[in-house]
């Protein structure tokens, strides 16, 4: 269905260009010059075709479904990978000091990826979903990491008294652990937005020159 819509859009834009060419030829232009002039007046057909496709209801539905699936994927991947990191930590494969870092190695890329996708997507609801799921992936990593850290520490033969102060630490990351994630998400969104803006400005400058 979406392929047929895209094909129809292409046909329609091509019909416009042919009509322009014909009119220009009627005014005395040769075929090649007429084609060039028609394209100059029309702008980039690929760009306009993409923008038209964005408006097609079936393509919008498809894009939205992909966005929802991908956003859920970030959150689920955050949960799953943080769980794997916890299992690896409890198996004694990671030094105590690196347990939280290992978990963050899972949460940070997912949070950044969520932020990038939040800027790239065209739909407002998808933006919110990506931002939420990316931040959630970070939060899972921090909570699981803290939990695993204290578990491994407590299991050590000469565990000090502080190793059993896990309740306060866990409560802290559960309630405030999302804050650094929000900052990371915000920073990623800002940087991605700026990069896209600079790129678009560069592309416009090249086109106009």
């Amino acid at each position: 269905m979406s392929r047929r819509t895209e094909q129809e859009i292409r046909e329609e834009l091509e019909a416009h260009l042919r009509e322009s060419e014909a009119r220009l030829q009627q005014q005395g232009m040769d075929a090649e010059s007429a084609r060039k002039e028609a394209l100059r007046r029309f702008g980039d057909p690929d760009q306009w075709a993409r923008k038209c496709a964005d408006e097609a209801p079936e393509i919008r539905r498809k894009n939205r479904s992909v966005d929802v699936a991908l956003a859920l994927g970030f959150a689920i991947a955050g949960w799953f990978l943080a769980d794997v990191a916890t299992m690896v930590s409890k198996a004694g494969l990671v030094p105590l000091d690196l347990i939280v870092l290992l978990h963050l190695a899972v949460g940070v890329p997912l949070c950044i990826a969520g932020g990038i996708q939040a800027v790239r997507t065209r739909y407002r609801t998808s933006r919110v979903l990506y931002a939420l799921s990316g931040t959630l992936a970070w939060w899972f990593a921090l909570v699981f990491g803290t939990w695993a850290y204290f578990d491994v520490w407590q299991a050590m033969p000469d565990a000090p008294e502080e190793a059993f102060a896990d309740g306060a630490a866990l409560t802290g990351v559960i309630f405030a652990g999302w804050l650094p994630g929000v900052f990371l998400m915000g920073g990623t969104i800002l940087v991605t937005w700026l990069v896209r803006r600079l790129r678009a400005r560069g592309a416009r400058a090249v086109t106009s020159s």
Binding site: E12, E19, G43, W48
Partner: protein, 125 residues
């Protein structure tokens, strides 16, 4: 008289202006994209459609909003073309937005202390 407005400024026209003009063009008769672009260029002296292709996303948006309907046909030059026709929803929007537009432009003109038919400005040729 033609008014030259740089493309950067043309992009700053109020959102929905192009859609309103499209609805106006097809209010009485169905038209294909090329004819609509010609009509808008004539009506606005080329101010809004800096690139003709910019018309099509607006046409497809209006189709999605069911304010236009479309059907393939043959143009006056015997070429395959997609013809657009206004729907009752589009008609209702045209009436509503035209009235709103008139009120807003009158209010802004009054606030800026300019008449609706200003004397030639620098840049007007």
């Amino acid at each position: 008289m033609s008014i030259h407005i740089p493309s950067e400024e043309a992009a700053q026209v109020p959102p929905g202006t192009l859609e309103l003009l499209i609805l106006r063009c097809v209010a009485d008769v169905s038209m294909h994209g090329w004819a609509i672009s010609r009509s808008i260029k004539d009506r606005t002296q080329g101010t809004l459609l800096v690139e003709e292709g910019s018309l099509y996303p607006a046409l497809h948006r209006l189709l999605r909003l069911r304010q236009l309907s479309a059907a393939w046909g043959t143009s006056e030059n015997n070429r395959k073309a997609r013809f657009y026709r206004i729907t009752s929803r589009g008609q209702a929007r045209l009436v509503r937005d035209t009235a709103l537009w008139a009120r807003v432009t009158a209010a802004v003109a009054k606030a800026l202390d300019v008449s609706p038919n200003p004397s030639p400005l620098p840049g007007v040729t």
